[in-house]
């Protein structure tokens, strides 16, 4: 990493820590909390899309499952959220392992559709298994985690919880990318046949990566549940999948900065579009099409190349 990149990252970290003091209104901080949670989810999704080069249309189920496991444990057995949130992540990881182990025999769109199948089945089970999941009656009054005696139930306090998990995740993914395993995944993404010929156990690698992605998605879902305090079967709706897809591809898949930039845009642009009133989401759709067509590689890679062209070359020149 160049010195400039390192400084830029440090600056970003400081800004991220200072967000609640810079933006003092609870609503703005609330949007940053949501950004953090969705960034975590999108980073998890991008492990499958960007690092592994495979499809999944089933990640909304993993997000929802994490939310449900953690919320139900906390509400119906009274266990502290500090235990239920990891339990949600791990439980989702186990489900994701089974899902990946079954699905990853397929490729391309077929892989996408079979994972979508898992999501639809899981959602119907959650709708109908009322004695456990409450069905459409929703899971209400999901408690916020407590630090000592204070519950982290304001955007300001929850922001740091999410930020901590987000930073850990970024560090974790970064170290995967640098590891032998991560390089194996990159080889597999670029050319599957060649990766096999190099002796990379691709099926094993893919299942492990999918399981990691599922665990992190479950974590994001659990953090979401304990923040919004109410979940229902729509927490497994495809809209969350589309959210992750928009964030990852608009930001730039296969990078760490992409999902982060993508999330901020995904959360803040619709807010800004409130002036378009009812047409808000139609305008958002137009922006997505424009963005994909004009910046197909994603905003983050485009910004990086602009940065290199104008700033770095000027400093050197």
């Amino acid at each position: 990493m160049t010195k400039q990149r390192w400084l830029a990252n440090l600056l970003l970290l400081v800004v991220a820590i200072l967000v609640p003091t810079i933006f003092k209104t609870p609503y703005l901080v609330h949007l940053f909390v949501l950004s953090g949670i969705f960034a975590l989810f999108s980073l998890a999704y991008d492990i499958v899309i960007g690092m592994m080069g495979q499809f999944s249309f089933g990640h909304q189920a993993l997000w929802g499952l994490g939310a449900y496991i953690s919320a139900l444990l906390a509400v119906d057995t009274g266990v502290s959220p500090w235990f239920t949130i990891p339990a949600g992540a791990i439980g989702t990881g186990i489900f994701g392992f089974a899902m990946g182990w079954i699905s990853l025999r397929l490729r391309g769109a077929y892989l996408g559709i079979i994972t979508l199948g898992f999501a639809v089945i899981l959602q119907e089970v959650i709708i109908n298994w009322k004695t456990v999941t409450h069905g459409w009656l929703q899971v209400l009054r999901i408690p916020a985690p407590k630090l000592g005696d204070t519950a982290l139930n304001t955007p300001f306090s929850y922001y740091y919880l999410v930020l901590a998990f987000l930073l850990l995740t970024i560090y974790f993914i970064k170290s995967i990318q640098r590891s032998r395993f991560g390089r194996g995944l990159a080889a597999l993404r670029e050319n599957e046949q060649r990766a096999i010929s190099l002796g990379i156990p691709i099926f094993k690698y893919m299942v492990v990566a999918f399981t990691i992605s599922a665990t992190l998605s479950g974590l994001a879902g659990a953090l979401f549940a304990h923040y919004v305090h109410t979940i229902n079967p729509n927490t497994l709706a495809t809209s969350y999948l589309w959210a992750a897809l928009i964030i990852v591809l608009v930001g730039g898949s296969g990078t760490l900065g992409g999902p982060l930039i993508g999330t901020l845009l995904f959360i803040f642009v619709p807010e800004w579009l409130r002036m378009a009133a009812a047409l808000r989401f139609a305008v958002f759709g137009i922006l997505i099409v424009v963005c994909v067509v004009f910046v197909p590689e994603g905003l983050y890679p485009r910004l990086l190349s602009l940065w290199n062209r104008f700033i770095v070359s000027r400093v050197k020149g």
């Binding site: 077929y110 639809v120 089945i121 119907e124 495809t238 137009i286 997505i288």
Partner: protein
């Protein structure tokens, strides 16, 4: 639970299934020819139904007149979709994912646009053949019979178009190998535009035929899209009669399972079948080898 109930469920299953097939054929065409999973297909289907309703109520045309207007308009909308969201991405890395996103954008535009313009409510599309008659102890609605018949006609017409006409052969050639098609002088851009026009017109036809049975409303495309995916995957890409068989199968399985076993787990059951079939035969049931 007599035999007449069984026959009634089979009738519902077959007519619903034919509708799924009609919807799925368009999805399959674009997927096969252009290589795009068109997430806006459900919204094209919705627009077809809403336009038929609009033309019928404002211009006072009869059912067939408004159907034709709607199909023609939607064909043009399909070409526009291709021009805006697919053609600029041709040849770009990650084409499948990027077009997935750009068509998702289109679907957001259409659905939310429809909600703003027409409101988030159901509209009734009236037909001249809405009466219900009793045949062999089961209730047969004229709308369902007409839907079934028109779909069969449309599928046969499409089949002959694709196998007999020069243009249809060019479409199939492009689906088999875009490189080979270019070599023999096929203009791929025009073929893709044609594919989109055809698929959108078929989606519109499906919407128009189903609106009298299930109403027309801005969200109608969402549930249908998922059914369409299952149908296309079961059929195997690019197989028209495969789509018909898969659609009928899903329609039947759904109505029988829903009636006799559990209406709550109906969709889960469909997807379970799909998962099993995908694992056993990853290229679908009706895909020819090679």
């Amino acid at each position: 639970m007599g035999w007449s109930q069984l026959r009634q469920q089979i009738f519902y299953g077959l007519t619903n299934g034919m509708a799924y097939a009609l919807f799925a054929i368009g999805l399959s065409l674009i997927w096969g020819i252009v290589g795009v999973i068109n997430l806006a297909h459900g919204e094209l289907y919705m627009l077809g139904a809403m336009l038929a309703w609009l033309v019928g109520t404002t211009l006072g045309l009869n059912f067939f007149g408004s159907a034709i207007v709607s199909i023609v308009v939607l064909g043009a909308v399909g070409i526009l979709c291709n021009r805006v969201a697919v053609q600029p991405l041709l040849g770009v890395r990650n084409f499948l994912l990027l077009t997935l996103l750009s068509t998702l954008g289109l679907s957001m535009i259409f659905m939310n646009g429809a909600i703003v313009v027409w409101g988030d409510i159901s509209r009734e599309v009236t037909t001249p053949f809405s009466e219900i008659i009793k045949v062999g102890g089961i209730q047969v609605s004229g709308e369902r019979v007409v839907t079934f018949a028109i779909t069969v006609g449309a599928v046969l017409l499409l089949h002959f178009f694709l196998t007999r006409s020069k243009l249809g052969k060019a479409l199939r050639a492009s689906a088999q190998s875009s490189f080979g098609a270019r070599l023999v002088g096929i203009d791929l851009k025009r073929i893709y535009a044609l594919g989109f026009a055809l698929a959108s017109a078929l989606a519109a036809l499906a919407g128009i035929l189903l609106a009298p049975i299930w109403y027309a409303y801005p969200h109608m495309g969402q549930a249908m899209l998922i059914k369409g995916f299952v149908t296309v995957i079961l059929a195997g890409l690019g197989s028209i009669f495969g789509c018909v068989a898969a659609g009928l199968f899903i329609g039947l399985a759904e109505s029988l399972f829903g009636y006799y076993i559990s209406v709550y787990y109906r969709d889960a059951f469909c997807f379970l079948i799909m998962v099993i079939i995908l694992l056993a035969r990853p290229t679908g049931l009706f895909q020819k080898a090679g």
